[in-house]
């Protein structure tokens, strides 16, 4: 009950921030229409068997949702700088409840991004069976888990004035090498690196449309391994941080 109070507070605060909403939801949406609308009738993007609207719908969901989860955790840096986390540490609110609020808020923002882009995708002719929609959404939500931990990690490593460039740059870079903007092909240097990034598997969720499994066993292992590593490092960063402050 008590930890829910803080989560509710974070949600109200975040969804009331119109500028944050406009940029978080509007930016991927505009990019989606700019790229996909002129090519809406291309049903076999680069020989992948995936239509351009579907490919970019998932690509921009990956971009927007990744950004939402990382930013939500990274806001901890601002709250540390402002002294708000010190204030919270003299209340009965537990650290895990505080982190939970950040993760839930990040996922809520990701869900809004997903809803807006799915609706736009459908408007441009994306059509999948109900099961495929669910499978794709499930994979996206799972692939976002490591980014929730990454956000909290950055929140403890960065300072308020470096969050903007750090998160913006990191998300752009991950999106680029993970195939958000163009398919990576099936071999080559970029493809080989991308295999080991959870963001690659996030983008690959669009493969549900061509039958079979969108993720290989390797995909599950990469996402799980990054989750474990980032949770451990984030925990370490948190402990070091509270010891010092």
């Amino acid at each position: 009950m008590r930890s829910l109070a803080y989560t509710r507070f974070e949600l109200v605060r975040t969804f009331r921030n119109r500028r944050l909403l406009a940029f978080s939801l509007g930016f991927p949406l505009i990019l989606f229409f700019l790229i996909a609308a002129p090519n809406r009738n291309q049903h076999n993007f680069n020989g992948s068997g995936i239509s351009i609207p579907l490919y970019y719908m998932v690509g921009l969901v990956a971009f927007g949702a990744m950004s939402a989860l990382i930013s939500s955790g990274a806001r901890i840096a601002t709250e540390r700088t402002d002294g708000w986390t010190r204030q919270l540490r003299i209340t009965p609110l537990t650290t895990s409840a505080y982190f939970r609020a950040k993760v839930v808020t990040g996922y809520a923002m990701a869900a809004a991004t997903i809803a807006v882009l799915y609706a736009s995708g459908i408007a441009l002719g994306v059509s999948l069976g109900a099961y495929r929609w669910l499978e794709m959404t499930g994979l996206i939500l799972v692939a976002l888990v490591p980014f929730a931990a990454l956000g909290i990690l950055l929140g403890h490593l960065l300072t308020a004035d470096s969050i903007g460039p750090a998160v913006g740059g990191l998300v752009s870079l991950l999106a680029l090498v993970s195939g958000t903007w163009f398919p990576l092909g099936s071999h080559g240097f970029l493809h080989d690196i991308a295999q080991f990034l959870p963001s690659y598997w996030l983008v690959r969720a669009s493969h549900v449309s061509i039958g079979g499994h969108a993720w290989t066993a390797g995909g599950w292992i990469v996402v799980a391994a990054w989750t474990v590593v980032l949770v451990i490092v984030a925990r370490f960063a948190y402990q070091r941080d509270t010891a010092r402050v």
Binding site: F9, I90, T91
Partner: protein, 328 residues
Amino acid sequence: MRFRRSGGIVAGMQCENTIGVELRGAAKTYRSSGAVVNAVRGIDVSIKRGETVALLGPNGAGKSTTIDMLLGLIAPDSGSVSLLGGPPKQAVARGMVAAMLQAGALMRDVKVRELIAMIAALHPHPLEVDEALDLAGLADIADRRTHKLSGGQAQRVRFAVTLVPDPALLVLDEPTVGMDVEGRRSFWRSVRDFAARGKTIIFATHYLEEADAYADRAILMSHGRVVADGPTSEIKARVGTRTIRATLPGADLTDLASLPGVTAADRRGDAIVLICTDSDAAIRALLNAHPNARDLEIASAGLEDAFIELTGNASDTTAAGERQEALV
């Protein structure tokens, strides 16, 4: 249901419950870029429940570090801290402590009432949100967004954040910095009303007047040590003093210090400085004993001045002093 701690203590719990705060040999050293700063050098402080205590001292005296230790925000390097009969973290987890820290920001994009209600919801036995808003004088701006408040209003919101948990112990770290005169007055009126409910209150300040007017007792810190601890009237007599300066070459400091009304004497080149509890008696005695004293000046010493005179060490040279000691 609301449970309010009041002055009356349940019989049988009295022993463990009369001590509000206890620091024993608490020490904290910071290391940054090669320099070692002994922020707090082993202090013993014991505060009873229901006391209002001022923590006095110039900047760098160790007040904020002491407060951080007693709130459990930092662990002492050595020594122990106990709060309301247990470790600080336990008292915090039970919602028995609240603190107004220096420069604590307010969250944006929320209304004042929402912020206070959220804090209330985190605690096991909070005040009614409206009662806390009233106590802090926020009733008329409860529906404003926190980032649209003036500095003084924001400070009152931060005060309400500390009142709404209905804590047994309230800690205020230089709470009136940035408030205007009327703001200060009404702030302290609210603090006094809250103290009257049997609460323990500790506040840090460098204003002697605030300690004198609102605390039962003052703890004086300098260079990480407690240099005086007692009723505010005693502390005031010790530092709320006047200083006499005069040019008097070759005078004997021991003789000067023993003049009536003088508590300490020091030399600055050809000049002497006398710290006085009774400057009228002191100046008569000085002129009687040393008719050749000239360039006389009498000034009322603020706390800062009194420290400089007493310790021969201005607060802003503390860090440099510490570094030298660290090298030895």
